[in-house]
Symmetry: C2
Subunit: 174 residues, 2 copies
């Protein structure tokens, strides 16, 4: 494990050196690849459902995890690691009591998605995102703006604890 | 409203008389149409996500609501009533604490789908299911067996309270 961390550090350092030595200011096509996802993948709202999730406490979140075709195929076939091209989207909303349902049901039992809070992505590209386990992480607020680098920094070390599942927390609901 | 109930009762009564007078025992093709859905629609696990739902209390349920293409189009375009051919599926699971996530997050916050409990369907066919607002209701236990008629009886009167949304509780999550 320590060796892996060491080599990842070496790779990241070398990549940084290469990037900094080849950078020509003003030439956008020669910028280093971003360390995380800053453009929202298209069409995610049509992807298939992987699972739902309720995060209680301060997050107070209810949402769904969707996958593109490559990710869904890998999930269903149990392919680990996920192949390049896999994208997983986590759509998050306020975990909101549903007053209309509760009135009909006659008890305060129903919670459904309130206002959207954020959308997160994991994009598999083993070359572009080699420094973060082959996954590019993305976080977009409800207005579609990507988070900054400081906000994104804890994503990889936290997901890295799910090494046995190729850094993916969500399991496929049957 | 009373007139509608009266006419639905008349229609149901007439349909019952017609069915009972034309029934020939042993001829399956002449059985009256079932009052609810007894065969699980195919391919529902590939349908698109409408929303997630957490039902607390004795239900203790976490799940997702998916729609076939006809239903998704109606949802997105705000079409009420839903056209014939619309099918909405509600996949229910135990609202289960996720010990693996909680260990990594360092607090008991994460709930994800546990074992499946049941799958429910609403199938729009304004002729076949005229007596229940044009919707056929279906409930299948985790082993795929349909519920019996007595179990299904409360579905329509409860959903009928959602008349303004054509009997559908679930709203589309953006």
């Amino acid at each position: 494990m320590r060796q892996i961390v060491f080599w990842l550090t070496v790779v990241a350092a070398v990549a940084g050196v290469v990037a900094s030595t080849t950078l020509t200011p003003g030439r956008a096509d020669e910028q280093p690849a971003p360390a995380y996802v800053t453009t929202m993948p298209e069409g995610y709202r049509d992807w298939r459902w992987i699972s739902s999730a309720h995060e209680a406490g301060s997050l107070n979140s209810l949402g769904a995890v969707l996958g593109n075709d490559v990710a869904i195929k890998a999930y269903r076939e149990g392919t680990i690691p996920y192949p390049d091209g896999s994208i997983i989207a986590a759509l998050h909303y306020v975990h909101a009591p549903n007053a209309e349902n509760n009135k009909i049901f006659g008890r305060p039992q129903s919670f459904t998605p309130g206002p959207p809070t954020n959308i997160q992505f994991m994009v598999k590209d083993s070359v572009k995102y080699a420094a973060t386990g082959g996954w590019g992480f993305g976080h977009f607020s409800a207005d579609g703006k990507p988070a900054n680098a400081a906000f994104m920094k804890p994503c990889f070390p936290c997901h890295a604890q799910e090494k046995a599942h190729d850094l993916v927390f969500t399991r496929y609901a049957p």
